[in-house]
Symmetry: C2
Subunit: 339 residues, 2 copies
């Protein structure tokens, strides 16, 4: 199958860029030093490639991701790096034979984990980003509470997510060290041997975490691409140009319209990028853009659009096509969508 | 089933608000005066309620929506208000017995319609918004081209989408009249009896269209709610509060975190609204917000979040729950997602 035969919009992953990214990260953080985050791709077939690169433990953001990874045989060590108030479905994943660890940051989430049949937890510690996590000074108390409910406490996690896109690497390293000092203090109070933290932006500068929860490194996006990391944008959205301003139109200047829009692109980081063109705006199923070389793009042409944010983009699609140039090597279901 | 038993995130549609919206629009634009746009809800069960309100013709934005509507028995008169370069799947919908009309705005899209087995078209005319549509002066030529390919030309369409959210109703009416003058001129050149245009923002002021393509009126959202229309926000996203800043935290002020984020909310119109609270930001699976009355929201509480943009929000979900207060009346699959 050639990409020209695909219906658009179609998500494409370049096999060479993907393999470069997986190999680069596996060299930097081999084996269990990396706990790949599946929220970035929601695809068990891609997770299987990460496992083949040596990483057997995974991070998830939703119960559905945990269930799907276990069902795919990738449940050796799954962390739900998120709080839940109803853990019964996680208990069922435990019963299926997978290893399940869930984040807790309150009495309520400790009770929910125990009641739902989960056996292992990490204490989620707030290291500066206002989503979840207890205060660092409170982590020891939460750990004690968890143990009193019969839960094994494997250690701590904390996510310095607000630092991932700090442009200056030295500043990113300095701020990461500040956050991780908080986490290290909490880890001493909590006990256990896991300090789980970090992400694609800080994988190389986080000196405290025993394991890094990076996800975006595999596919990357235009937001991360600006940070000087050694990973390549591997994901594009194949589009068809469906309309163009006529050359002698009353309504100038010369724009064209591709059939990808805000329903096929995550928009929280802004507009996508079209190489060799200026993007004007996205509507439901359209991206309107002006090619630098007017007349160079015609109705019926295919273009590859770069999403500003990969994670929510992938979540909008049913499948990913692994491609080598214009050849489709494999088609993978995005099977971890939903909740 | 009660809403308290639903797993979150869960999309809820209030039955009274929905019925108010459908009845209000059906009174203003009865029967074929409205061609409801299914892109706003992507749900054939909701379309069935619009059909029960008297509207038997529908507007779609994607081939998948056309296929799904036809398969659901709602294919009496389906318009794909969008250009396609490969119409073969539409030809299959024609063969299944549905009436299919597709927008064309170029020689390429005319040829694609004819080659794909489509028999009826509307000429899509640009009335000011740079997505698709030919120049008004070119519409007659496109119609002739379509007829020369054996296609029946039912008339014209044009979408004044850039006017939907103009805040001042009088200004919105004046600008709509300007756009529709362009469309009327094109309609005279094209022939046929259909002038399809408009949307929720202009349904009451568009004096030229023979049919209005409104979609958002059924569910509404916070962006449209600011325009003074007589429709009620009917859709909310049910969330669970999964984390809260501890009262004596080192990291003040008092925020809470709900389990809905940029993967369950369309973000192109900005952050969602949480009644009685200030939303700080959304991350993948979280919305962080500060309640006006700190301490009023606790871990485990359920909150109903109002999306800023309904269309892309619905597209992220597998199902919609029709509710009366806390009672779940029906659960509908969002069965028109994808492409």
């Amino acid at each position: 199958v050639r990409t020209s035969e695909l219906q658009t919009p179609a998500l494409l992953v370049d096999v060479h860029d993907l393999e470069h990214n997986l190999a680069t990260m596996a060299a930097a953080l081999p084996g269990a030093r990396l706990r790949p985050h599946v929220k970035a791709h929601k695809c068990t077939e891609l997770a299987r490639r990460q496992a083949a690169a040596g990483h057997r433990s995974f991070t998830c953001a939703t119960i559905r991701e945990m269930e799907g990874m276990a069902a795919a045989g990738l449940g050796e060590d799954l962390l739900l790096a998120n709080e839940v108030l109803d853990a019964r479905r996680l208990g069922a994943v435990v019963d299926s034979g997978a290893r399940v660890t869930v984040a807790v940051d309150s009495a309520e989430t400790v009770r929910a984990a125990a009641a739902g049949g989960v056996r292992e937890v990490l204490v989620d510690v707030n290291v500066g980003l206002p989503p979840c996590g207890c205060a660092p000074a409170d982590a020891g108390r939460i750990a004690g509470l968890a143990r009193s409910h019969g839960l094994a406490v494997r250690g701590v996690m904390g996510y310095e997510g607000h630092l991932m896109l700090v442009a200056d690497p030295a500043e990113r390293a300095r701020l990461t060290a500040e956050c991780m000092a908080l986490l290290a203090r909490a880890a001493a109070d909590v006990g256990g041997d896991v300090v789980s933290a970090g992400g694609t932006g800080t994988y190389a500068v986080n000196q405290v975490a025993t394991e890094i929860q990076a996800g975006s490194y595999a596919l990357m996006d235009t937001a991360y691409a600006a940070t000087g990391l050694p990973f390549r944008p591997a994901l594009t959205l194949l589009a068809t140009v469906v309309s163009a301003a006529p050359p002698a139109s009353e309504i100038q200047p010369p724009w064209v319209v591709a059939d990808v829009g805000l329903k096929s692109l995550g928009m929280d980081h802004g507009n996508p990028t079209v190489p060799g063109a200026t993007v004007w705006f996205c509507s439901d199923e359209h991206t309107t853009f002006a090619p630098d070389d007017s007349g160079s793009v015609r109705v019926g042409d295919r273009v590859r659009v770069l999403p500003a944010h990969v994670d929510p983009t992938v979540a909008l699609h049913e499948r990913i096509h692994l491609v080598d140039g214009d050849e489709v090597l494999e088609t993978w279901p995005v099977d971890l969508r939903g909740w």
